[in-house]
Symmetry: C2
Subunit: 632 residues, 2 copies
């Protein structure tokens, strides 16, 4: 199956090519332990051992299977971008292998099959069995959508059936320590139409938090553990209250947003307004009080977790790439459920900043954590900074982020628009062609040099002579003004929920042009964010900018942005991929004594500062970086 | 024995009375488990059990004995301030008990005697046996100096002899995981004249760092541990290199400064210039790159440790009260060895700020950690802030700091002056009488309302008609100008090593008056201290000021100090003990939107800010506090 929206533009085509040509082949080699000098994966070998095709011990994380699942999912999306018989065959082979690992009752997990065959389903808190199933279900759905094959889908239906027969109100009670299967089951329900999967997802969501002692009691019933986790840390496992009563986003950030995404999906599918309302409350908790300007979430590396409102340290931020991807999942589900632009605003913010920063420009290295200030003197060198890298490392033993980036970018086509009966909503500004020939009898050509240019053109090609419909285009929250030009004439269109609506009888070559306000702007954080006191950050359109030592004389601590200075846009084609707009900003450089403390206020001289997009940082060697800069 | 310098003035008499009348009696009750509703001490009961006078198990930290030792030391100093037969009798009783605990070979430690009799001296890394002996030796010396009694001194000589016979180059090798005995042995040497104690101290100092694997090998030889500490954390145990090669102050801050104090003592006593030089290097590492403006040290609670140069977070600072007291010990030894004022500057800074902040104004509650910014919403509530208290708690199970404050303040008389053959040096500005009748045939009356008033008067009363000598008075580093007035006439005296020198034939009622520059001043941190970017702190004389919510409308995050505003001194007798000078500072209050991020720079209105001395914070209920404030 092809995507309805085909991306054809400079920016994202580059990244999607990278995923297809670099990331997915590389990850496949990693999973098969064919890449030297990186941490061993062993993920495929675990499957071969579990299938009886190889000898050996299980190796890796308890959730190692999910690396394979995420690779299958990403590779399947990549097939929808461009057919690739070699990849398709590799997928067939992996799926055959997975089929051999599956137990007669449908159970599927190499850790337990190989290492702990008598301990299945005894440790929902730590053991990630439902999590791994969830990822493999997502992989199965994606593989089916991409190829039309039901090979993996059948395996995972059988696995889901097994889980359905195992868990429930009148069966074994429980819910996953790490959410993921909730949203996966809704996807499975959508492609199969089997209501039991939706029901099972509902069960897991509704069960959570009804018994805060659940994991404690579970632990009391077994004499083994994976990490000897504290079962009373109910915030970490999001078990502090029934989900509809949870007010604040807390605990492990990835787990949280995966759960909320599942809640939004179930809410939408079942029309359960109470779930959508709970999601809105949790959404506000994240985006109004706990989110970095980059769309990063999770302020602390301890528990990879949310902390408290307005606690957003820049230099020790966890801000995991996976958490921002999870936030995008959550946002997308809410966007689909409500069609309010604020969700798309956050998708865009997280995507163009935190998530893209997670991958090097050559697609070969990955950040797991995305701080907003880095000093290589401290990174990895002092306590509290163990998780901070000044450059992207290669593959980690806990390889969650790289395949997550791959599956998001390879499926980005699904985040661009929404088709409803009445209208076509454009959420993201990405160039390409939307083919609605079958439904709306319309094709729409989107042309833009976004995110560096403020103009987006929509050109219409009805399949019939003329087609009447409504086009809704998002006006991003960062664009303080905008102009809408329809066939050369300015239009004052109705705006609602963050979208402008143009209802028209569209004929060949009709064109809507949106011009956004992409002037560089200074941003100020809420005064309660004490880390950013006296600071400003620079944004331009959807991009957050940052300052690197290499452009600014090495040290950043002695630089200030001038309060009333200019910001000049520059093109820089040399250092990064073509067309990047850098910013030259009026600033001052401070000079002070060497003393630790002095009565003398530092001297100032004016200077020019250079800022580059945050996503592109750390591609030119180790150096200092910061997003928030003191204003002077 | 009486102190040569008797303190007679408002400020320190208040604190010394508090120590005598509140702290020491309270601590004695705590050690005997007679205070309800606090964590059990059991320290005295451990001695009774070890002496065979009570039944029961050892309870408490492996170094619980040191609480008793520090109390004896503090109570002995208190006897030198004011005789107290009741306290003296209590001391006699405790010492009798300690004598009964001592083993025939001189060994003395209740933990091992009661709990682990077969494990003596097997775990120098963790078990604190040498540390406890060190504190008890200091107690014995203080008790002897205060009372002339050799009861405890004899016990501890026997204990030191046992240690001397156990450890050494050709005996059992080793050195303490927690330094303390090094400096104690020098004190024991000074009162006994027995060179073996000095030699043993030298041995421990020289042995450290010669074998970085020492604790690893030690651990390999036993099958038990106290905390299962990692023996390879050589920084924590200050075992990374021989002490003369150590360049940076690292590891556990209290251990570090106790070690350096011992090194300085040995260096001075043995004339070992290489040790003094190493101490100077480590001193510079602390005071030029790793010390808070309050004299606090230890940037992180993880390992209670130093981190890296210029890493001085305000809100998560560990800055343990004990570490600043240890820094004062180190400084005093260096001051005695060099007579350079920079050491006295730091004694004063740590004493009037971090250390005094460690105790509530009523002497009943104690801070163990002394951050420079506290938000009660975060303190103890989020990860990384577990150690931060918004109010002083009572007694902790690890009760190191309160008795350390008590012994420092009760012995403050020893820090005020140094007598050499040629001169009398005045280091601290404390009112009272210095009686040098026996040596210099001179008494000197010091009158001052320091630290709130800038005038210090020295009035001379020779025992004979006239006495020729040199008076050296410290000019503090914070005083940018000063005036010296001798018998009403201005004097331009020679200044060297931070002291002014006045050599004169002193007759009755001669008076030297020093007027310091005590104008409130703004301080700026080194630009590398990123936490303080854009900030200023206010000091007046030796006092660092801070802002509390209660004086400034609750929240501090929206306040700024005006760049060119005035600072007005006020007297405030109502809230704190009489005579405190508070400061009224021109500032601005910011008003901003509720949004997490905004394009609008916050609006400003001028306002007055109130600052109080840092040491006095958190005496009026839980509220926000900060030392460093953004300048606008």
């Amino acid at each position: 199956m092809k995507n309805k929206f085909q991306i054809k533009e400079h920016f994202w085509t580059y990244y999607q090519n990278l995923i297809q040509e670099v990331v997915i082949p590389f990850q496949e080699k990693v999973l098969n332990d064919k890449v030297p000098d990186i941490e061993k994966s062993h993920a495929m070998e675990n499957f071969r051992i579990a299938a009886g095709e190889a000898e050996g011990e299980f190796y890796g994380m308890v959730f190692q299977d999910s690396d394979v699942a995420k690779w299958i999912e990403a590779a399947s999306y990549a097939l929808m971008l461009k057919p690739n018989t070699e990849v398709e065959k590799k997928l067939d082979n992996v799926i055959t292998l997975i089929g051999k690992v599956q137990q007669p009752d449908g159970y599927l997990n190499t850790y337990f099959t190989v290492k702990e065959p008598n301990h299945k389903w005894q440790n929902l808190q730590e053991a990630h069995e439902l999590y791994c199933s969830g990822h493999m279900i997502e992989a199965a759905v994606a593989h089916y959508e991409a190829t039309g094959k039901i090979t993996l889908l059948s395996i995972m239906k059988k696995n889901a059936d097994h889980i359905y027969h195992t868990f429930g109100k009148d069966k074994r009670r429980g819910f996953p320590g790490h959410p993921e299967i909730e949203l996966a089951l809704v996807r499975l329900y959508r492609v199969t139409g089997d209501k039991r999967y939706l029901e099972l997802s509902q069960y897991f969501i509704n069960e959570r938090g009804t018994s805060p002692n659940f994991f404690k009691e579970e632990k009391g019933k077994r004499d083994w553990s994976v990490w000897n986790s504290d079962p009373e840390q109910v915030l970490y496992t999001l078990n502090q209250a029934p989900v509809r009563e949870q007010q604040d986003a807390v605990g492990h950030a990835v787990r949280a947003v995966y759960l909320y995404a599942g809640m939004a999906e179930v809410g939408k599918e079942t029309g359960d307004e109470s779930l959508i309302k709970a999601c809105e409350t949790l959404w506000n908790s994240i985006t109004q009080k706990q989110m970095y300007i980059t769309g990063g979430i999770g302020s602390t590396h301890i528990g990879e977790a949310f902390t408290k409102d307005y606690d957003l340290p820049n230099d020790t931020a966890y801000s995991e790439t996976c958490a921002s991807i999870g936030l995008i999942f959550f946002a997308q589900k809410m966007l689909e459920a409500t069609l309010e632009s604020k969700y798309a605003d956050v998708i865009e913010k997280a995507l163009y900043n935190c998530v893209l920063a997670g991958m090097s420009l050559d697609g070969k290295k990955f950040f797991y954590t995305n701080p907003l200030e880095v000093n290589p003197e401290y990174a990895k060198k002092i306590v509290g900074f163990e998780h901070i890298c000044a450059e992207r490392p290669g593959w980690f033993s806990c390889a969650c982020c790289p395949p997550n980036v791959a599956r998001l970018i390879a499926s980005l086509n699904r985040y661009i628009f929404t088709e409803t009966e009445e209208a076509v909503y454009f959420h993201l500004f990405i160039g390409g062609e939307l083919d609605l020939s079958e439904s709306k009898k319309l094709k729409i050509q989107v042309t833009t040099e976004y995110p560096y240019n403020n103009v987006i053109s929509y050109r219409f090609q009805p399949v019939e002579a003329a087609v009447t419909t409504t086009i809704a285009i998002r006006i991003p929250d960062w664009s303080e003004t905008y102009q809408l030009i329809v066939n050369g004439e300015k239009l004052n269109a109705e705006q609602k929920n963050g979208y402008v609506f143009i209802t028209k009888k569209f004929v060949e070559n009709d064109e809507i042009v949106l011009q956004l306000d992409m002037m560089p702007k200074k941003v100020y954080a809420n005064l309660n964010v004490s880390e950013n006191a006296g600071c400003t950050a620079i944004v331009r359109g959807p991009l957050v900018y940052c300052f690197e030592g290499t452009d600014n004389g090495g040290t950043l601590a002695n630089l200030r942005i001038s309060k009333d200075g200019k910001i000049v846009e520059k093109k820089n084609n040399s250092i990064l991929m073509g067309g990047v707009t850098t910013l030259e900003i009026d600033g001052v450089r401070l000079h002070a004594e060497d003393a630790l403390y002095s009565f003398r206020r530092p001297m100032q001289e004016t200077c020019k500062l250079t800022a580059i997009p945050y996503y592109a940082w750390a591609n030119r060697g180790e150096n200092q970086m910061r997003v928030w800069m003191q204003e002077e």
